[in-house]
Amino acid sequence: MSAKISSVSNKLRVLLIDENKTRAQGIISALCDSRYVVEHLESITASLLKVVDALQPDIIVMDIESPNRDILESLHTISRYSPKPVVMFSAEQDTEVINLSVKSGVSAYVVGDADPNRVKPILDAAVARFGEYQKIKSELVETKNQLNSRELIDKAKRALIRKKSMTEEQAFHSMRKMSMDSGQKMEDVAKTVLSILSNLDAGANNI
């Protein structure tokens, strides 16, 4: 089943967890001829995490009152699972309130009852919002990494100036040359320089 699904390109895999067969059928028909391919799980016989692992869904849909919610909650704490948008339906009228408290940040997104006519736009919105959130998050990580690598390069530069009596310009140029010659990133060259210099120090101390 999962092999067939993964061969379909540009399709988004939906894992629908719902004990209510009629409601599930409504959701599945509402999504036929769309970019969503639904895998319906009526009951949890295998460990849900294993199913998620095997299926790699792009989005998970479930009832907010399902006891299985806590299994999904544990996904957050397992780093090897990449976060997935979770859309939760609730029959209760006051879900708008819950929605406000969970919509930002985490992947959970609560909407009203599973009205088949609203299912597709709801999934579209959830996927878009989640993508946006992931983008902001990865930009943040990227910025952090850039900052880290700049710090590393500066550190290596200072070490060369101090220990090899280079000027700042010489230090920078020699690292850039190493980088170009070896095809390594400046950041990796800086790491190598720092490690060699500290090994030299250790070696000198041992003599």
Binding site: E65, P67, R69, D70, E73, S74, I98, V102, V106
Partner: protein, 381 residues
């Protein structure tokens, strides 16, 4: 005392240690304080938490680490949740499947397992499975931020079993027994009545209780939003007073049996008396062919060996933070200062005690009985 709000909606998960909330309602303690309480049964901790954060629940029975996870924004948008009352200590147990039971006996060449079981007995099973290329042992707990998880880790660690030697997963309590039976999991750490249920069904062996792992640690607390307390301080005091009375009422064996009867009703645990009553009476069912163990502190709701248990003491909070840190869920050195005293609120508890004193507590609850397993005695005060 004028209550700012009298209608309350409280969330609970159907477990043996939800007794204080159910007793406070059924025995009229909430009503005595002028509170009109609705108890809303919840199916998952995550949804209970989200409803509390959203104000759909005014307060709820929570796993002791949960208010800290809320405050720190672990797995959720951060929200200031406070815990003015500890509702129970202990109450969890570890049950292994019948097939793992036999695997342990065979691997260690034993005729029976001495209880409480030492975790190192699993080592031989784990290494034999490795040799055979068999799957890792899988243990279940109920929530990422739960004492169940930390107790399971602690127990495995005591047998020098590494995190990577086993798989630890989350399974909703309602599915635990079934999963154990069909072999989806090899063991679980869960609260009552689920351990007793597995033993009664003849599909597992309860190898030890959480009291064998950690003596007298907070298990469930009353959680509510800090903003709710700011808005309705007297209501919170009255709610805590009624719950404290319920906890005290739960001290005696006769009352505990009555509590078991109430809990078994369909709107609460919807489970037979013979799986709810044992732990409340200090009995840990172990195995279909063995006698129960006497664990007087299996479920503790009020007095403990270390004095009052209902006060959310800061040292208890520190202990929980340490567990969360050891499980890699947070960096202990990076938590905000005052976090513990902002979440655990012994000050509210003490204020509630004053209110209780001033209002002169009626009924037998003013003179607590001490439940000491084999015997009971009045508090010597």
């Amino acid at each position: 005392m004028i209550l700012e709000k009298t209608n309350l909606n409280l969330g609970f998960i159907p477990l043996t240690d939800s007794a204080p909330l159910i007793v406070a309602l059924e025995m009229g303690f909430f009503a005595d304080w002028g509170l009109n309480v609705t108890l809303s049964k919840q199916n998952s901790w995550a949804t209970l938490r989200d409803k509390l954060h959203a104000g759909l629940l005014d307060a709820a029975q929570m796993l002791a680490p949960m208010p800290f996870a809320s405050a720190l924004g672990l797995g959720v948008e951060p929200k200031k949740v406070i815990a003015p009352l500890v509702l129970s200590l202990n109450g969890n147990a570890i049950t292994l499947s019948e097939s793992l039971h036999h695997e342990i006996l065979k691997a260690n060449k034993l005729s029976h397992i001495t209880l409480p079981m030492a975790a190192y007995l699993l080592k031989e099973v784990i290494s034999q499975r490795k040799l055979q290329g068999a799957p890792k042992l899988t243990f279940a707990n109920v929530f990422p931020y739960s004492c169940h998880y930390y107790q399971l880790r602690d127990w495995l660690k005591s047998g020098e079993i590494a995190d990577s030697d086993v798989d630890i997963v989350v399974v909703p309590p309602v599915n635990m027994v079934n999963f154990l039976e069909i072999g989806e999991i090899d063991g679980f750490c869960v609260g009552g009545p689920w351990n007793a249920k597995a033993v009664r069904a003849g599909i597992g062996i309860t190898t030890l209780t959480s009291f064998d792992i950690w003596q007298d640690s907070p298990e469930k607390v009353l959680g509510l939003l800090a903003s709710f307390y700011q808005q309705f301080p007297n209501t919170v005091l009255a709610m805590c007073a009624a719950l404290k009375q319920a906890c005290t009422w739960l001290e005696t064996i006769p009352n505990r049996f009555e509590a078991a009867r109430i809990l078994s009703k369909s709107q609460y645990l919807d489970a037979p008396l013979d799986v709810i009553a044992p732990s409340l009476l200090g009995s840990c069912l172990t195995h279909k062919n063995s006698e129960p163990r006497i664990i007087p502190s299996y479920n503790q709701f009020s007095a403990s060996h270390n004095g009052s248990l209902n006060q959310p003491e800061l040292v208890r909070g520190e202990w929980l933070i340490r567990q969360m840190h050891q499980a890699g869920q947070l960096d202990k050195d990076k938590i905000p200062t005052n976090l513990i005293s902002e979440v655990f609120r012994p000050d509210i508890y003490r204020e509630m005690k004053e209110v209780l004193k001033k209002h002169g507590v009626s009924r037998a609850t003013s003179e607590p009985w001490h439940f000491d397993g084999a015997r009971m005695h009045r508090a010597e005060t």
